[in-house]
Amino acid sequence: MSEPIVQYKDVHKSFGDVKVLKGIDLDIHPAEKVAVIGPSGSGKTTIIRMLMTLEEPTSGDIIVDGTNLWKMEKNGAMVDANEKHLRQVRGDIGMVFQHFNLFPHMTILENCMTAPINVKGEDKKEVEQRSMEMLERVGLGDKFDNYPSQLSGGQKQRVAMARALVMRPKVMLFDEVTSALDPELVGEVLEVIRDIAKNDDMAMVLVTHEMDFALDIADKVLFLDEGVIAEQGSAADVIEHSENPRLREFLSRFRN
């Protein structure tokens, strides 16, 4: 099997006195689709937020494509990463948020174009064409000139995915992307994720409560419970064959 694109090595995270993650070891391989499930407060979101550099681990290492994310070498010693180092490594990661976080002062086309142009210095014409293709792909090509405030929640989330895709990340993180949506809008967003999962070769990590969907598209399922990965394996392994009583109880809440 290929080298992992992301590795977590004994990663711990505390917020004040509260230990949220208590030793996470995890490999994510290129193009692998990973679903993270588990009860609220189990630390699912924290796992991906640390990879996006939105939270700093309390201890442990996260390796992205062979480079330590949160530490760097200086005069032969490993020290805390500075912003320059974080920027270099972070470029491989993209994220879609629960609350979309589109830029309200830009049209949806501008939302897609700003980072490739201003962060990566790409050619404007090329970026515009690619952004329009992405917007077409998520079914919003005709809305390119609208502002986010003119869109529904589901449409906003599809724009957010287009915006992240235009950056061509190697790893794309989805943080409960349907949790803030009205139930009738969830389907359209899941369809886009399914399309990305099927056709794109980047790795994906989905933190989600959409159990059936996650199990359907994931190569690997992690069950997170009380700050540790309590169970991991293929969807079939985790769902059908696990003897873990906490997992059985958790799943039963989605199956009635």
């Binding site: 920027r87 993209g94 976080n101 002062h105 980072a115 992240a164």
Partner: protein
């Protein structure tokens, strides 16, 4: 019944108006100074050091809680006699620095409220898209932080405009100074001071209206 004379009114009018240029210049210069110095406060307060932050907060509080008139007197009369750092400043410069620094403390707070009005999600999205520090501020944070501050800045502009006559006490020859001087020559202040009042109304009211217009325009951008 000769407390009011239209003749004296028409004599006073050009005399008082001759100070208008100075009043407007002091207002604009002080406000520009306050806008820029407000940035300094905002920046200093964002430095993540508790003791430093506390010190800056109290310096701002001190400046805000002291009357601007006292500050003007201090800058104009007391500053020059302080050894080493002291220097003599013209009335105009003293007024601009005094009013500018005083109002910069309010304006720094306005900037801060504008920055805080930008949601956490915007900062996180900027990070997730890997913006540099400068581009994050220039393209994401400030374009959202600035518009909501415009009405507040406008209000302070008008408040400050109305404080500019304080500068007449240190000899800035604005409209109040001219009115006083006219009054002492003619032993009657009523016409000249009335003119000062009218000028302030004539300038404040349209300014407030324009600010309101601007606010509406900014609110309906997207």
């Amino acid at each position: 019944m000769n407390y009011w004379s239209w003749e004296r009114f028409s004599d006073a009018l050009p005399y008082v108006l001759s100070g208008l240029g100075t009043t407007v210049m002091v207002t604009l210069s002080s406000f520009l100074f306050a806008l820029l110095f407000g940035l300094v406060w905002t920046f200093l307060r964002r430095i993540p050091n508790r003791g430093f932050n506390w010190t800056i907060t109290w310096i701002m509080e001190f400046i805000r809680s002291t009357p601007p008139l006292v500050q003007l007197f201090f800058i104009y009369y007391a500053w020059p006699v302080i050894p080493v750092v002291g220097m003599t400043l013209s009335p105009f410069a003293s007024a601009v620095i005094g009013l500018g620094v005083h109002f910069s403390t309010y304006i720094g707070e306005i900037y801060r409220s504008g920055i805080e009005s930008v949601g956490q999600g915007q900062w996180e999205a900027a990070k997730a898209l890997n913006f540099s520090l400068i581009d994050k501020w220039r393209r994401i944070i400030l374009p959202q932080a600035f518009p909501p501050t415009v009405p507040m800045l406008g209000n302070y502009f008008i408040i400050m405009f109305k404080e500019v006559p304080l500068a007449s006490t240190i000899g800035v020859t604005g409209i109040l100074h001219m009115a006083n001087s006219f009054g002492s020559q003619h032993f009657n202040l009523i016409e000249a001071l009335t003119i000062v009042g009218i000028i302030f109304l004539a300038l404040s009211y349209p300014s407030a209206y324009l600010i309101k217009k601007l606010e509406l325009k900014l609110n309906n951008r997207y």
